[in-house]
Point group: C2
Chain length 393, copies 2
């Protein structure tokens, strides 16, 4: 057959994997990934030289893992850098994820640690609409970490949740989000909940002069996310919560790209986090909850902090915070949101650890003994009183 000439740009993006392998077999395994993630075809059978030269991943480097600086105490094996043609991923986030980790996600002993995307690829992503600076501006909070909480428990009616939202906004909480388990249940319909809660927070704002935001959960069936988000926007929601592990990361990208909305988006780690559990498989914490969620357009990334109900280590959390805020070719830095059973008494430690540009999410503990208003006030005072310093990343 007369095959048209393949002529790609030659530009490549880089994936760095940790391979659990012996020195004797690491190169063969790395070269197998170069094929698996592109042509998925035996090297000897590739039908022409142009495909071999232009499509197949190239092995750039193999280094023994030092174990230091990776945010993972159990580092081991080899760090392998593979470079893929930007045209293989094209403009699609789904396909970028596929090239980076689609098939090898099924292989134990391969963990995706880091990626480097050239401008030719990054230009396809609008990224976060607000990020750290934009959300500060919207809230009118220039100089402290942000306070966030969740409306719960599931089972309360829309009016009870709205009453709670009012009290939390009166108490000075900046961002009041739906619990991620609130969807459109018969006992708490989305539309009624959103309009009541948005109204309640607006009323509190009028009384306090603040600009607290209510963020409903728009995690929903694929064909309903956009409509729920539009209705939420019309009802006065100040932002949106989405679980990209449930909708697909591209569901987040699509939501963030919707110019009709123009609302800040919080990403919740439900299900998605299953891909982070390592250390010999999955996607590294910083890349998954930091870089990828940011690339998809979240303005803030919720993750389970050390010191709560989950098992992420301090270094894994630091990796997430660093990836959320590091320079990324023009994409604004986003808010790390440590969560998952945080308590008021941890606030000074959290502020010292995560720094000034972080959003602290405290849920149940605001409802512990004592008055809700007093605990909100304590939350705010603790955040304001903790001295500003260089964050620990």
């Amino acid at each position: 057959m007369s095959e048209p000439r393949l002529s790609l740009s030659g530009e490549r993006f880089t994936a760095v994997y940790r391979l659990t392998a012996t020195a004797a077999d690491v190169e063969a395994r790395a070269r197998a990934i170069c094929l698996e993630q592109t042509v998925e075809f035996p090297a000897a059978l590739i039908p022409n030289e142009a495909i071999r030269a232009q499509i197949v991943g190239t092995l750039a480097e193999i280094l023994p893992c030092s174990g230091s600086g990776s945010g993972d105490e159990d580092a081991h094996g080899f760090e392998v850098s593979i470079r893929y043609p930007v045209e293989a991923a094209g403009r699609e986030l789904t396909q970028l994820l596929n090239v980076l980790f689609g098939n090898v996600a099924l292989q134990p002993g391969v963990r995706l640690l880091r990626i480097e995307l050239p401008p030719a690829l990054l230009r396809h992503y609008r990224g976060p609409r607000f990020g750290i600076a934009g959300l500060r501006q919207r809230l009118g909070v220039a100089d402290r970490p942000l306070l966030c909480t969740a409306l719960k428990p599931m089972g309360l009616s829309p009016s009870a949740l709205a009453e709670l939202a009012y009290r939390l906004a009166r108490g000075g909480i900046d961002l009041i989000k739906d619990d991620h388990g609130l969807s459109d249940q018969t006992f708490c319909r989305f539309d009624e909940r959103v309009s009541r809660c948005a109204e309640a927070v607006a009323r509190a704002n009028q009384e306090t002069g603040r600009a607290s935001l209510y963020l409903p959960n728009v995690t929903a069936p694929a064909d309903e996310i956009a409509a729920r988000a539009a209705r939420a926007c019309g009802s006065g929601a100040g932002g949106l919560l989405l679980c990209p592990g449930l909708t697909g990361l591209d569901g987040l990208r699509r939501l963030a790209a919707d110019d009709q909305l123009g609302l800040p988006i919080l990403s919740h780690p439900a299900l998605l986090g299953g891909l982070s559990l390592g250390p010999r498989q999955g996607i590294a914490h910083g890349l998954l909850f930091g870089t990828l969620v940011r690339l998809a357009g979240a303005d803030a990334t919720i993750f389970p902090s050390f010191g709560g109900r989950f098992a992420f280590t301090a270094s894994e959390c630091q990796e997430i915070a660093a990836a959320a805020r590091m320079p990324l070719d023009g994409l604004p830095p986003i808010w790390p949101v440590p969560a998952g059973g945080m308590r008021l008494e941890q606030v000074p430690e959290l502020v010292r650890f995560y720094g000034h540009d972080s959003m602290l999410l405290i849920g149940g503990d605001l409802h512990a003994e004592g008055d809700l208003a007093a605990r909100c006030q304590a939350f705010l005072s603790l955040v304001e009183q903790t001295p500003k310093q260089t964050p620990n990343d």
Copy 2:
């Protein structure tokens, strides 16, 4: 506040988890999951008795793991059954996944093994449109396993892929799918590829009298999947390939529910499979690749078989095949599709292992030494010659 009365049906669905825990702490950990996956709130602070009684998960059973019959050689710990109210999940697959495994996906030591969904919940899912019987009817193949292959490698032009599709259909392959790495790249546009390949397979069918199907990959950005599928349908595609790990499982459900398409759907495990790697975390193989993919509406589920490039064990593969075909309250059984480096010489063993109602996917090995037509013929002969017997599950 005067809270409206919560009055749920009392019907519950069941999740069975494997917990890595000591006998001393397993009950406390199980009760923590009952809260984590519903109210996400400390038990003592739940504001009313109705929520405690009707919303919180109930702990039904704790059993030590036997290690037998689980399809997992490294079984250990405890099997814990928790029952959740059907209204917590409602009609949404995203929220069902959230209740089953949203937050606990982030916890090592918790693996979701099995689920039991009552009709009140299952009725929200249309499920597979074709399944085993429907696809046999469409292909006119009553009495043998099906033959499947992939168009590759990435880098070939649409016309070269169409030429290949023609030869594969002439060779007697039943289902000819895009490689899952073919999306809408500049060097191989979706529309041109799909119309050329569909035409090529139709031409071969006219010559052979068979009814081979071409299945393009419609994995795409969230807002483009439906349109690509519709264009594929209009171009004469005989089915669709989707990677629900890249689009979200609900992207698969939405595609399968589209009455304008009415095409069989193959599910590909890219990225999704990262959630299956265990044994102390994630989602069990049978549940993930069998039950959940079937619930979302796939007619066939591709997974990496033992004996190929991946590391799934024979018992994990058997678990997938069993879950794909077991009775599930009216949802048709679907095709297990063992894949991932299968070779012609393995066909008799694969047919004996997976049985009559299975679809064998052989990719690169059809292109190995010798003539493609001859190897297709050998594939068909091997499948036809292997005696029919009760499948090994």
